[in-house]
Each structure stands twice: as structure tokens, then as C-alpha cells.
């Protein structure tokens, strides 16, 4: 992870120097963009447009990862502020995505929100990577469409 972020920082630095307007892009703004894309994922999931929703959730996660890297590249290093933006955006983003999914995912979202509040209270980080798990399940759902296990995934994702 350290290697990845240092590589991205190496790529970002010359880009930020060449295009000074990009320096005005705040890390929080990237988190905001990541959140703003989530209703699209919700609408695509509701329509069962699996490939499109996989791409959108991937984009949401990519932007979510990018904000931390940009913050470090620009020297915005208040970790508590960053944590708060990250976690609150993640929880609301999960809640929006869960609207299109089964009650299992809604319950997991509730559990994750509770864990986030406890993490803040006890200053110990314990959160389920729910959107990443959803992305993996969606990929499996798409790949296993002709398999007998598809029925189980369909039930877990959209019906339970």
C-alpha cells in the first residue's frame, strides 16, 4: 500500500506542477465527488445493470482512495479530519447503495454505521469494507450467471 501511494504521489507531483488549477482541487472535494457518484450506482443496481454498476462502484472506490493520496501529496495531513471525512462519506455512500439491495445489506450497513460511531468514541478503527465486498459479490454474480450458485447470490443480493 505504501509503495502504491508513493508511486501515485510520484505521478501526481509533476501533474500538480504542470496544471496549477489542479492544486485548487481539495481532497474533500474528491471525497464529495465519490459520494456524488453513488446514487448512479444505486439507480444502475435497481435496474440490474450489473456491469455498469460494477464500473460505477469501482469509480466510487477509486475516487475514495484518491482523496487520501491527494491530501498527502498536497501536504494536508490532519489525520483526524481526513478520517472523519472518509468515514462519514463511506457510511452515507454505503447507505445509498444498500437502498437497491436486500435487507441483508441494509443490516450490514446499520452494523457498519454503529461500528463507525464506536470507532470514533473509542478511537479504535473497526469497520467492514462493505462497498468492496459488494463489488466482489457483484463481479461473482456477473461471472456465475450460468452456474447453480447464481441463485444463491441473487437471493443474497436482491431478495433476502
Amino acid at each position: 500500500m505504501v509503495k502504491v501511494s508513493s508511486t501515485v504521489r510520484m505521478i501526481l507531483k509533476p501533474v500538480l506542477t504542470r496544471f496549477p488549477i489542479l492544486r485548487q482541487v481539495d481532497a474533500n472535494m474528491i471525497s464529495g465527488l465519490s459520494l456524488a457518484f453513488t446514487p448512479i450506482a444505486y439507480l444502475l443496481l435497481s435496474e440490474r445493470a450489473i456491469i455498469a454498476s460494477i464500473i460505477t462502484i469501482f469509480l466510487v472506490l477509486l475516487l475514495d482512495a484518491l482523496d487520501g493520496i491527494v491530501a498527502r501529496a498536497k501536504g494536508q495531513t490532519s489525520s483526524e479530519d481526513g478520517w472523519m471525512v472518509d468515514v462519514s462519506v463511506d457510511r452515507i455512500s454505503e447507505a445509498i447503495i444498500s437502498l437497491a439491495l436486500s435487507r441483508v445489506f441494509i443490516l450490514l450497513t446499520i452494523l457498519n454505521m454503529g461500528l463507525a460511531l464506536l470507532s470514533c468514541h473509542y478511537e479504535k478503527h473497526a469497520i467492514i469494507p462493505l462497498r468492496q465486498a459488494t463489488l466482489l459479490i457483484l463481479i461473482a454474480y456477473y461471472l456465475l450467471q450460468s452456474q447453480p450458485t447464481f441463485f444463491i447470490l441473487d437471493q443474497i443480493l436482491f431478495h433476502w
Binding site: M29, G32, S46, I92, L99, I110
Partner: protein
């Protein structure tokens, strides 16, 4: 976001994301759920009239993540008895927190932390913010009315 913006956005999520449960009842339930969170502003109405805005300090714990957690638990319990009612409630509640986090300074972890989070996707200047809110509300309103008209829920 303003009250009308919350109602329009929540109903857009209902119309396009959950057409199978779309009915006048679910539209009303979603509308109520999308604005009920703002009730805690009433206590700060006098200050807001003077300053023309509700500051993040006027938001109680029920207007932040603890409130969303409670709202989601209530909606999920209602979903066990009536799935359309529970789901439309959930859409209304979640959309409110989504729009607020996106466009306003909030304290998501209040009362555990008083740190203010602002994502910077909306202007902070009052005049610009009013214009931003108005444009978004009108766009959402037009799309919602057109789609409800198209589905025959409202007639001309």
C-alpha cells in the same frame, strides 16, 4: 439543501430506483421522511432568521450519523411488516443525510466529535448558495414532475 430540494431528490430516488413500490402513499411517506430530520432546526429558527442560514451547530445528534443509524433501524423494522412503506421511509431518510453531507457543513460524529466536515461541492457564500440550491431544486423538480406525469401518477 432546502426543504423542497430534499423532497424532490428523495422522490427522484424512489421514482427511478424503486418503481415497483411507487404509489401516492409511498411518495407521501418518502416526502415526509426526507424532511422530518430538519425538525430539530425549529429550536434555532429565530437565530436563522437573523443570519439567513442554519449553522452546523444547530444540528442535533438526530441530524447526524447517530440519527441516520436510528432512522435506518426504524425503517428496517417497519420493512418487516410492510416492505414498500419501510423502503420508502429508508429512501427519504438516507437521501436527506446524503444531500446535507454533500452540500452543507455538518458534524457527522456529533456528539462523539464536534469537528465540522465540509466537502466543498457547494458554495459557502450565502448568495451563491441560494442560487446553487435554487437551480438544483428547479432541475430536480422539473425531472420529478415530468417522470410522475409520464407514469400517470399526476395528470395535466
Amino acid at each position: 439543501m432546502n426543504t423542497l430540494g430534499h423532497v424532490f431528490f428523495a422522490n427522484l430516488l424512489l421514482v427511478f430506483g424503486a418503481p415497483s413500490i411507487l404509489s401516492p402513499t409511498t411518495l407521501i411517506v418518502t416526502s415526509i421522511a426526507s424532511v422530518i430530520t430538519d425538525l430539530d432546526h425549529i429550536a434555532h429558527l429565530r437565530t436563522a432568521i437573523k443570519t439567513h442560514r442554519f449553522k452546523s451547530e444547530t444540528r442535533t445528534r438526530w441530524h447526524e450519523l447517530p440519527g441516520l443509524l436510528l432512522a435506518m433501524i426504524i425503517s428496517t423494522i417497519i420493512m418487516l411488516f410492510s416492505a414498500p412503506l419501510g423502503r420508502s421511509l429508508l429512501i427519504g431518510f438516507v437521501s436527506h443525510y446524503f444531500l446535507d453531507l454533500l452540500t452543507r457543513p455538518t458534524r457527522p460524529f456529533y456528539p462523539f466529535s464536534e469537528r465540522v466536515v465540509f466537502l466543498g461541492l457547494a458554495p459557502r457564500n450565502l448568495k451563491k448558495l441560494t442560487a446553487y440550491d435554487t437551480v438544483l431544486t428547479v432541475i430536480m423538480g422539473v425531472i420529478l414532475i415530468a417522470s410522475l406525469h409520464g407514469q400517470g401518477i399526476i395528470n395535466s
